[in-house]
């Protein structure tokens, strides 16, 4: 395990060094990402400026949701990008090479490319998160800060799990399924707002099938000490981010299952 982590770290360093060869391009893309995400948040500000509040949530409270989900997604996208770009490996048969190496394929795929330009989105999410933290007037006890970090970690695991599942489907379909974008990018969009406003079937899907609400909405309620119109208990809200980790572990099992059924395209 420790050995694998060291190897992953090596992959990360090599990838970063490679991308830093194109420094100007890296800086411009990161800046563009930071700027683009900022405009998305400005759109949320426009809505709050016009309507005042959203089902009892203020802008600062909504900003906490925004920060939590965007930081988590940026971390997952940076670390598990290899899964997002997996279909060419299967189509060209390059995946066979990975199978020959004496390390787990999930580790090798994850480490193929660590996208540094995601740092633009990550920084922007952090800025919003810090702003929300100061604007909220919540007492930031060490316990609360720790819980906040755990929530982000749970969210990052969930999104990483989704990328793994998306890649796993390539073992059967060769092509990457675009429908997954609705739960990855679309999931980020969805989780930026309190889940209580969505229709029941929609909410259930994002709680029980893909536990997105459990790594954003429920822990945010606990952090903000807000009552839940859906009636969850504080204890559940505190345990909820663990489901994100569980989701990743299940996704990795599905990956192993898919890998055993992999047949090379032979090209």
């Amino acid at each position: 395990m420790g050995d694998s982590l060291r190897l992953y770290w090596r992959y990360v360093l090599v990838s970063i060094r490679g991308q830093m060869q194109y420094r100007a391009s890296f800086l411009m893309l990161s800046a563009a990402m930071f700027f683009g995400s900022s405009l998305e948040f400005l759109a949320i500000w426009v809505m709050f400026d016009r309507f005042g509040a959203l089902q009892g949530w203020s802008l600062a409270e909504a900003a906490l949701l925004y920060g939590l989900v965007n930081v988590a997604f940026a971390l997952a996208e940076g670390a598990a990008r290899g899964f997002d770009e997996f279909s060419p490996l299967v189509r060209t048969g390059q995946f066979d090479r990975l199978l020959l190496r004496p390390r787990s394929t999930a580790l090798q795929v994850a480490g193929r490319e660590v996208q540094m330009v995601r740092i633009g989105r990550l920084l922007q999410g952090l800025v919003i998160l810090v702003w929300a933290a100061t604007a909220l007037g919540v007492a930031w006890t060490p316990g609360r800060i720790l819980f906040c970090l755990a929530t982000v970690a749970g969210g990052a695991c969930l999104f990483a799990g989704l990328f793994v599942l998306q890649a796993t489907f390539c073992f059967w379909s060769t092509e990457s399924l675009e429908v997954f974008n609705t739960v990855t990018y679309g999931g980020v969009e969805t989780a930026q707002y309190p889940f209580s406003l969505y229709r029941a079937e929609f909410r259930r899907f994002f709680t029980y099938v893909i536990p997105l609400a459990t790594v954003t909405y429920y822990p945010a309620l606990a952090i903000l000490d807000k009552p839940d119109p859906l009636g969850s208990s504080r204890l559940l809200q505190h345990l909820a981010p663990l489901l994100g980790v569980a989701f990743l572990l299940v996704a990795l099992q599905v990956w192993r299952f898919g890998e055993r059924r992999y047949r090379s395209t032979g090209s």
Binding site: Y22, S25, M28, L29, A31, A32, M33, F35, G36, L39, E40, L42, A43, V46, M47, D49, R50, F51, G52, A53, L54, Q55, G56, L177, E178, V179, N181, T182, G186, E189, T190, Y193, L197, Y198, R199, F202
Partner: protein, 263 residues
């Protein structure tokens, strides 16, 4: 005129082949639209003040955004981008046609065909099940159609400008990405422009970007009376003309300093 019309129709026919991709995109856009409709409905229900546009109108506006998102100058023509990378752009220069109008015709096709493929099924589904209203009146429908034509011309001029900018920044993905997001924001694709703060309205009205989304959509829902289409069209064409002039000037300069690598 003939060669450009031929290029336009050939490109449109090529791009209409990508039906599977359009179907996959349709599911994504429907999901996205459903989320946005729920969020906006919740915002409307949370406020006691009367917003400048009614909720049913806003819902129709949101579905029109989802349907016609591809009309935006969102990404640079990938074939032209590849040509600039590998140097086969030299062939484009050798053609006995005007390079600007050649690229402009391509840009129109690049905007029109994918938008058409997505808009028709999406609007039908949104109208049947998801709260999209019909145009406010027959006059509004006509005004909407005319205004969409203006939007297509304006959007294509903007995207041609983005293609030309690549003569300077081959790896200028960062610039064109940031520029497209600005256009999305200021055209009303994130939040309908009537909902922006009152103090920003004069600025939003003067800027060119409302012409690619907001103007036709407001005519559709009846937020603008149908006769406003003429003013809207004048605004769209004025800015289109300006972007064409700037684009041609930049292209003329870009071509003289162009160095094609390799052979």
């Amino acid at each position: 005129m003939r060669p450009y019309a031929a290029i336009l129709s050939a490109r449109i026919r090529t791009l209409l082949q990508y039906r599977a991709a359009a179907l996959a995109g349709l599911v994504t856009q429907l999901f996205w639209g459903a989320v946005r409709v729920m969020v906006f409905t919740a915002f409307y229900r949370s406020s006691t003040a009367t917003p400048p546009m009614s909720l049913p109108d806003t819902i129709s506006y949101l579905w029109l955004i989802q349907a016609l998102l591809l009309l935006l100058p969102f990404r640079v023509d990938p074939e032209l981008q590849a040509m600039m990378r590998d140097g086969s752009i030299a062939y484009e220069l050798a053609r006995p046609t005007d390079l600007y109008w050649l690229w402009y015709a391509r840009a129109i096709a690049q905007r029109f065909a994918p938008a058409l493929l997505r808009a028709v099924p999406l609007l039908l589904i949104a109208w049947a099940f998801l709260g999209l209203q019909l145009p406010a009146s027959p006059g509004a429908a006509l005004a909407f159609a005319i205004s969409l034509g203006g939007a297509l011309l304006l959007s294509s001029a903007l995207s041609t400008l983005m293609v030309i900018s690549m003569l300077w920044t081959i790896s200028g993905d960062g610039f064109s990405r940031a520029f497209s997001i600005v256009i999305m924001f200021l055209s009303g694709s994130f939040v309908p422009l009537p909902l922006f703060p009152e103090w920003s309205q004069p600025l939003l009205q003067a800027l060119p970007f409302r012409g690619v989304m907001d103007t036709p959509f407001r005519l559709y829902v009846g937020h603008l009376p149908p006769e406003e289409v003429l003013l809207g069209l004048a605004h769209q064409l004025l800015w289109t003309g300006l972007f064409v002039l700037v684009g041609r000037a930049l292209l003329a300069r870009g071509v003289t300093r162009l160095v094609v690598q390799g052979g």
